[in-house]
Each structure stands twice: as structure tokens, then as C-alpha cells.
Amino acid sequence: MSGDNGRFATGVPGLDAILGGGVFDGGIYIIQGAPGAGKTILGNQICFAQAAQGRNALYITLLAESHARMIGHMRRMTFFDEAAIPDRMSYVGAFKTLEDDGLRGLLDVVRREVRTRKASILVLDGLITVHEKARSELELKKFIHELQTQAAFSNCTMFLLTSAFDADAHPPEHTMVDGLIELQTSLHGRRAERSLQVHKLRGTWFMGGKHSYRITDGGHAIYPRVEALLETPSVWDSADGPMVSVGIAGVDKMLGGGVDTHSVTVVLGPSGSGKTTAGLQFLTGGAADEKAMLFGFHENPMALRIKAESLKLPLKARGDKIMLMWRPQTEAVLDEVATELLSSIKQNGVRRLVIDGIEGFSKLTDEKERIGSFLSALCNELRALGVTTLATAETDHAGITPGQPLKGVNQTGLSAVAENIIALHLAALRSENHRLMTILKSRDRRTDMRMRRFEIIDGGIVLDADFQSAERILRDISSQGPQPTPSTDLKLTGE
């Protein structure tokens, strides 16, 4: 329904956030995209959303698919409401009128139908046909101008759908309308990704750049770029309160009592070093009634439950207080996954979160330069939502280089994300692999940064009481001679 400021929400998930709140009553907007981009679905979705609010919507087609086929396709969409047709949602064809009577005839159809049907939303599907029918640029401009006048005087918001798009061209109608929304599909390798971009929106701020979308049974689901949507967190971060245990007594002690509430801690380490175990201990280490969630890209919930059971961690005992959310990196979209994660956290009141494999986010997009700011925005939002987070990140089997124990561990980009960074190592000494742990960073805290050897036994990770054993291992490694230079492929920025 129309708001006090003369604008209304389209009702399309994600679109209104990008449009800065919605579109204006009596405004005129172009939606353009190649065939298959979903213009018709978007047009119908907007109409049915408004019809559901009690407004009347009108869908006029020119050279488009037949109404019967269109309605047949829309019936599969959850937004479709058979009862809305024909009183609150109606379809009429106007190609013959355009063919016989030209642009003036089409204007006559629009004027009359909007008035007769008391339509406050109009979709005109096939603007390109009007373009082709216009005898001159001036005639097309006059058509758009008259349509604008009709839209304003009848308080009917109009969406003009067109497949015409030439990135270098600037059709005259683009300069005249109130908004221009483009739907695009681009290929990344063999994967197709859809994106929406608002090029122009008069009278209001809007979120520029490209935003991913999907077409689902519910119609368009648009995911504003997380770093744009959460440029500033959605709520003010009021982090205070007691320190939070990470679920590993020895680490809490090294950190001077635990981590700050609402903070982000990253645990780095190679495969097999104990990162997921640390995550499970953090997950189960909170109060019995605290809502906790593990979000991961790799191990599915069943594998995690088995792992927790074998470690004798009380995952099962905590019942529905602990949620496991698994998102394989198959065809997922970066902003979609982040949106799902944040929604689930809000809905369930999660206060303790494990992100198992934070580098998984970077595998969801080819735009690697986004990842630094994406993670920064995501982590800021988690803090603002009152969530204390532990994220694991996989490094190469870097080993331990004498004199340079952390060489090869790429921390670039992590400082902006995490208050605390803990590194796990696998150190090979003759035939034995030893697990070692270091705290690399702990913001504003007196921290014991000396390395510790640790074991994984029933109950999870247990650290040696002091650094002596770790030092002995490092000394013995040093006497073995030079080690190969370690490397890592961990990249949390686009560098």
C-alpha cells in the first residue's frame, strides 16, 4: 500500500532495499533485459503483490507470449492468486491497436483501461515494439511524455518492459522515465549468474552496482550486495557484558579469560589441525539455553554430529538450542548465502556462531576483490546482532620454519574482520606430527602469545599447561635442518 511519502514497496524480496524503499506513485519505470532474464515474471510479481494489497493492477501486452500461456506459467508461482483475476489483476492485449492506430491508439487503450479498471499499477510488456512502431524519435518521446502525464494524473505507477539494450546506446526514453532497472545474465565459466542493476532512480537514493538475483517458485528473489546493504550495520552495536568462553579452557586462559562478547575470532590452520573441533567446542561451550549455530560449507550436519559424538561433545544433548546449517558451494550465490545466514540468526536469536570454513565465501563469487569488504560488512553485522563468532579458515600445510614460525600464513584482510586470530599448526618431527597453537592477535588484551602443544582427546582440544613442550618440538625441528618454504592459498582479499 502507498506510504505517506507517496511511494510504495514493490513487494519483491530485496528489490525495495535496492530502490531505497520502493517506487513512487505515478512514476514510470523501465525494466529491461535480454529474453529469459525474467522481466515478465518480475512484472507479474509486482502486479500480484499490489493486488494482494487491494490495489488494481493491469498487464498490457504487445508482442509477448499469449495471456493463456503467461497465466499458465504464473500459476506455478507462489505469488499467483487466481482469485485476483480479473477484478484486481487483468490482462489485455494491445498489439492490434498499436498496429492499426499507432502510438496514439495505444495511449488511448492505456488511458481508457487505467481509468475503467481503476488501475494503480500498469505493466506494459513490449516497449521495444513501440520503439519499432514509432516513425521518429520525436514520436517516441511524445509517447513517453504522454504516458508520464497519464501516470501522474491517474496516480498509476507504470512499468515498461523491454528487451532492448545496447550498453553504448542511450535511447531517448531512458532520459525521460523516473527509473531504469536492468536484468542481466553473465557467464562465469559455465555457470550463469543473474544480476540486477538500477541505472537511474529519480527522487531518491538507491543502491548502485549489481545485485544477484534468482528466479524461484516465489518469483524474483534479489540479494542486495551485502557490503552495500550493510555499509553500516542494521542496528547499533552495543557490545558489553562478560567475556565469552571459547569452549577450550587453555585458550580462554591464554586470552586472559576468553573473548569479548560480540567479537569475531578466526582460527587458522591446515586440514587436520583441529579447526572444526575447535569450532564444535566453541559451539557447545556456551550456556545451556544459549542459541548457537554452526554454518559450514564442507561437512554436512550428519558428519558434524558423528564428529561431536566421537569427541564426546554435548551437541546432541543441547537439542534444538544448537542449529547446524550446511550450504554446499555448488550453485550458491554469495549474497544469497549471507542473506540466508543473517535471516536464520535473526529468526532464531542465535548468540554464538561458528562459520566453519570462512574462505568458502570467496568460492561463491568470481569477484574476489569483493571478499574483503564483504567479510568486513558481514562481521560488523554479526557484532551488531549481538553474535559472538568463531570462524575457521584453512591454510596450506605450512609447517613450522625455524626462526620464522608463521611464515606462509597469510593474514591479509583478517585484521579488519577479526578481533582475535588463533593459528593451529601441524609440525612434523621425524615420524610424528605434533599439533601446535598460537594466538596471533587479541585486540586490546594482555595475551599469552607463547606457542602451546595440544592434543585432541575425549572432550576436544586440550592444551599443554605451558610452552615447554612446544619449544622442545621447535628446537628438535630446527636441528633436523631446513624445511621447505611453506606457502598458503588463503586469500581473504582480492590481492
Binding site: A68, P86, V92, A94, K96, T97, E99
Partner: protein, 121 residues
């Protein structure tokens, strides 16, 4: 030769029906909406009206209501062809001879016409 008036705002459907019915030995008149149909009905008296329901200027319900007002047109059988549900159309248009749910096949249309003009379609 029987005359059929097609009332359809979607030109492609109107064209298809015109060709189909012409091939089946009907004389065909075509209107793009209810208002154009009434113009034709003021000068011609077809044997059958095949009409869409949602159209500009005058919809199917308006056309049927207007035909009922005139003695000469009242007895012309009307077939409503639409993607709307039958009860939705009947609630708004009252009585009419037959209902065809779009999209329909050629055989469905000829069956309905055959029932209206037995032995002719």
C-alpha cells in the same frame, strides 16, 4: 455458410482462429475487443460469437450484457474462451453457451462448435 465473429485482443490468437475457421468453411469476422464487436454486430448478424474475456475498451462480460439488450442479438450463441476459471466468468457474465479454457487445442474448439451446429463442423 455459417458466420463466426471472433472477438480477441491477442492478434496471434485471432489470426490463428480466423485461418482455422476459414479452412473449416466458416465465414469469419474479427474484432479486437468488445467495442469493435458491437460495431460489427450492428451491421452483421453472425451465427456464433467466439469471445475472449479480458479485453480493452469492452470486455467479454460487457459484450455479452450488451448483446442481451438487443432482441436481434440475444439468440446468438456465445462461446467464451479464456484462461480464467469457468465460475469466475459465469459469476460476471451470467449465461452463455459454452466455455473454452485457454490454451485449448483445435480439436476442443471444433468439438464445441460441432455441438452448437451438429453435423456442420
Amino acid at each position: 455458410m455459417r458466420t463466426v465473429l471472433i472477438v480477441e485482443d491477442e492478434w496471434a490468437i485471432a489470426d490463428w482462429l480466423e485461418v482455422l475457421l476459414s479452412e473449416n468453411a466458416f465465414n469469419v469476422l474479427v474484432a479486437g475487443n468488445g467495442r469493435e464487436a458491437l460495431d460489427i454486430l450492428h451491421r452483421d448478424t453472425p451465427d456464433l460469437v467466439l469471445t475472449d474475456f479480458m479485453m480493452p475498451f469492452l470486455d467479454g462480460a460487457g459484450l455479452i450484457a450488451a448483446m442481451r439488450q438487443e432482441e436481434r442479438l440475444r439468440s446468438i450463441p456465445v462461446v467464451v474462451m479464456t484462461s480464467l476459471l469457468e465460475h469466475v466468468v459465469r459469476d460476471r457474465a451470467g449465461r452463455f453457451r459454452a466455455y473454452l479454457r485457454k490454451p485449448f487445442r483445435e480439436v476442443d474448439l471444433m468439438k464445441v462448435i460441432g455441438e452448437i451446429f451438429p453435423g456442420e463442423a
